[in-house]
């Protein structure tokens, strides 16, 4: 027999979900697709002779590759290595999640462990333990966040506006890059000016070619760098055109210019670059991180980074990304914990990916939250982008977790954006770099993304960039230009950021600027030691996090009801006639209305005026030749009891319960309260036509018929999330009107303006 199809159609539904755009790789350690361990990973081991590492993870000194050598000579703490290596991995793993073992003790142990041992310890932890250990081990107490500020046109005006916006939302660091690499100087000036609007302290990076990035830093525009990449195999390192020594030299060079710096590493880079040596992702990253600490950099940007998407294709890959972040902080490095390159098209996978970091906290939760729209992100889309920024703000509020961001009121954002483009335009005019028109500025101020702008093109930006570079313009020139044009506050802000480099306080581990002060692992160390300790969201900060837009309260509900009151008074009149009694008229249906119906509340949650709802119900009862008697109940506001009480008064034994919010029921006198005939529970999607059918069916039941029940079609809307806050507030207004033992009252309803 042909049953018509050989495929369950659900697979077709699944095929159409964004998830199916993600590709998944089978586990295959030989070809580098293994997250936590691979047969090719070495067994942990160390030999120390006269304070010198002579064997590391099974490799003898004479065979050390560059990475082994650098780790052995510059990272491993030989005074503790033998003791540390002797502790079983499971014991160390337990200590990582034991709140009574101090962070400092674990950091000290980590410095004596080889990469293979570090990876082995972390492979003992489940995802929850990794997140918990991360929270305990991260270096700075106060969490922070970093954002990308770029656009598809390299438009400096939009960069300035978007930088100011990112600063307003609370990003501690912003990072730009270019579509056209020669636009670096234009991007740098634009972001530096934009980041000086509103407050000072957001650090800024212009990700470009190494030498150019350093020159931009020297000119005073940028204040940190993080694109100093390291790799876990020698061949990859060489293909990346560097060595541990060249990168360490660069690290010293940045510090010598007073510029904060961290390295970049992360799972998947060796896999993408083809020299993975069949090693697991975590083991290779352990090498990268030991190397970075040996180089003397204060921190890392890891957690996959450009390799995050490929890592997320591997079984356990997302957990591995968490583990390598933990490894970074366990080694006492600042951690800008990835969550940048978008690892998935599935919003569920995005939310799941970010949550552990949000609740654990991180020095910089994202090392590039896309503050701009996806298509404007010149680094490629981030895990979270301008589109989803409000989702993140709500997650902070949901979990009472500090993700480093703060909601901003709409009018403030537009003011800051205007100020930013005007400041940059002033700088351009003063320094004769350009004179943007009013139209250009206005298009940028209101623009959500570069599709909306009529502003500079990439070519315009190239010309500006070239002038800045050729004329040797520095941040001092920009500060002077700002002051000359009346942007004194912005000039002060910009100077304050540049001045940071004189003391170098912000070169220490995990340093950011908060409220005009440098905080780092030194003066704001992670103090977690169990419940009540460590970073807690203080009352003031909690209020900031909670202040998302469009919150509902009862005052707002009453205000919106009051808007409809006048109109309802012109459409309907309720006259109380006195106590309602039980009728013996078999041709009668009672409509029981709730206590505040038409008194304090005037429309259903579906937005229908109560006069209209009550009108169609009574009309359709009357249309069947029955009488519709309206009774107001005061003893209850509950739908079932309204319906049952109405039914008990009705001569037909059929009653309708109708709440002001629109929930309705058809009930019968001798049934149990919740065993009704028909229930209309989804008021938001119940139409006037449904109420008309409700009345008709009630009449049919009264006439002894068996009508087709009315089904209000529900298409899976999250009714609770959309309406329950409002419903609960409305219902509270109803219940406040109830009174124990209040007698039902007969109500004469007059529909005003009707012919009859």
């Amino acid at each position: 027999m042909n049953i018509g199809s050989n495929r369950w159609r659900r697979y077709g539904d699944w095929d159409n979900r964004p998830l199916r755009l993600d590709k998944f790789a089978a586990e295959d350690p030989k070809n580098g697709f293994a997250a936590f361990s691979s047969p090719a990973d070495p067994k942990p081991s160390i030999n120390i002779e006269n304070g010198r590492v002579t064997m590391l993870d099974g490799v003898a000194e004479a065979d050390f590759d560059m990475i082994d050598y650098f780790i052995a000579r510059h990272h491993i703490d030989t005074s503790i290595a033998e003791t540390a290596m002797a502790i079983p991995s499971a014991t160390i793993a337990s200590r990582l999640v034991d709140m009574h073992v101090p962070r400092a003790e674990l950091v000290s142990i980590a410095h004596g462990l080889t990469p293979a041992k570090l990876a082995d310890v972390l492979s003992k932890l489940n995802a929850l333990e990794i997140a918990f250990a991360y929270s305990k081990m991260r270096a700075r107490n106060t969490p922070g966040n970093q954002g990308h500020v770029t656009n598809a046109k390299d438009d400096p005006l939009q960069l300035a506006a978007d930088a100011a916006t990112a600063v307003a939302f609370g990003f501690d660091e912003i990072e730009t890059t270019m579509r056209v690499s020669r636009n670096a100087w234009s991007n740098a000036v634009a972001c530096a000016v934009g980041a000086a609007v509103g407050r000072w302290g957001t650090l800024f990076q212009c990700s470009s070619e190494e030498a150019e990035e350093l020159r931009i830093g020297m000119a005073g525009f940028s204040s940190y760098a993080e694109t100093v990449s390291v790799y876990g195999t020698e061949r990859t390192f060489i293909d990346g055109d560097d060595t541990p020594w060249s990168k360490a030299f660069l690290a010293a060079a940045y510090a010598s210019r007073g510029i904060k710096m961290r390295c970049t590493s992360g799972a998947g880079s060796e896999l993408l670059m083809g020299f993975h040596e069949s090693k697991s992702l975590l083991y290779l990253e352990a090498r990268c991180l030991c190397l970075q600490r040996g180089m003397g950099v204060q921190g890392t940007q890891n957690g996959g980074i450009d390799g995050a998407p490929i890592t997320a294709t591997v079984p356990g890959g997302v957990k591995e990304l968490m583990a390598e972040n933990l490894l970074a902080v366990w080694l006492d490095l600042e951690c800008a914990s990835g969550n940048d390159a978008r690892t998935t098209e599935s919003e569920i996978r995005v939310g799941a990916k970010i949550l552990p970091y949000l609740i654990a906290g991180s020095d910089l939760i994202c090392s590039g939250f896309g503050t701009i729209l996806k298509y404007d992100n010149s680094f490629n889309p981030s895990l979270l982008n301008g589109e989803e920024l409000e989702d993140f703000l709500v997650l902070q509020r949901d979990f009472e977790a500090d993700g480093g961001l703060t909601p901003v009121e709409e009018y403030k954002v537009i003011e800051l954006r205007r100020r930013a483009v005007e400041a940059l335009a002033a700088v351009f005019e003063e320094l004769q770099l350009g004179s943007p028109t009013r139209k250009m500025l206005e298009s940028v101020v209101a623009a959500s993304g570069s599709d909306d702008t009529r502003s500079y093109t990439p070519r315009d930006a190239s010309l500006i960039s070239q002038m800045i570079q050729e004329r040797g313009i520095t941040v001092v020139d920009v500060i002077q230009a700002l002051v000359r044009r009346g942007f004194r506050v912005e000039a002060e802000n910009l100077l304050a950021v540049v001045k940071l480099r004189v003391s170098g306080d912000y070169l220490q581990t995990s340093a950011i600027v908060r409220n005009g002060k440098v905080i780092s692992a030194i003066n704001d160390p992670n103090s977690y030691a169990g419940p009540g300790s460590g970073y807690r969201v203080a009352d003031g900060r909690r209020r900031e996090i909670n202040a998302i837009r469009d919150q509902l309260d009862q005052k707002e509900v009453l205000r919106s009801e009051a808007l409809h009151e006048g109109a309802e008074r012109r459409r309907i009149h309720y006259e109380t006639l006195g106590a309602a009694v039980v009728s013996d008229d078999r041709l009668e249906v009672v409509v029981g209305i709730s206590p505040a119906f038409g008194i304090k509340l005037f429309q259903t949650v579906g937005g229908h005026p109560l006069s209209e709802v009550l009108g169609v119900i009574t009309d359709s009862i009357v249309a069947r030749g029955l009488k519709a008697r309206v009774v107001r109940f005061g003893h209850t506001a509950d739908t079932s009891f309204l319906g049952l009480s109405a039914a008990r008064l009705a001569g037909s034994g059929i009653g309708i319960g109708l709440q002001a919010k629109g929930t309705a029921v058809i009930h019968q006198r001798d049934r149990l309260p919740h065993n009704n005939l028909e229930l209309f529970s989804n008021a938001p999607i119940t139409s006037v036509e449904h109420y008309r059918e409700l009345g008709a069916n009630a009449a049919a039941y009264a006439l002894g018929e068996m009508p087709e029940p009315v089904i209000v079609p529900m298409r899976g809307q999250a009714m609770g999330s959309r309406y329950h806050a409002r419903v609960a507030m409305i219902y509270a207004i109803e219940t406040a009107y109830t009174k124990a033992g209040a007698r039902p009252e007969e109500v004469a309803v007059k529909f005003l303006g009707r012919a009859s």
Binding site: H74, L214, S256, G296, Q298, I479, L495, T509, I522
Partner: protein, 141 residues
Amino acid sequence: MSEKLSIEDYPLSEKRPELVAGRRGKTLSEITLEGVMGGKIQMEDLRITSQALRFQAEIARRGGRPTLAENFERAAELVEVPNDVIMSVYELLRPGRAADKKELIQAANDLRRDYGATRLAAFIEEAAEVYERRGLYTFRF
């Protein structure tokens, strides 16, 4: 320096502002907008000094971060080294740039002689040895 700094002295800009100054001796309180407008403050005054880096190294070491301290000490030696020299040494340290060990040893000697950069010189000499053993003096077309 006569006294040893501790982590209590951090941040220097708040706790010990008298210890830090720009490269021409301008103190933090002298680095103002007025100074910038009057031309008294220039880029040179907004640069870190080797002294400040050594202070930060001391604080890093006190904070249990010896490798970070060493980086700051290497950085202190680079403060007086011009940008183009820095970039040429960096370039030379990249794979396949130096044709042989001698080139790197020469660069190390130059830094030691011209800038007193003894730590950096030793660091580059170490690289020169490892590069030779790992065959990095191969021309990479």
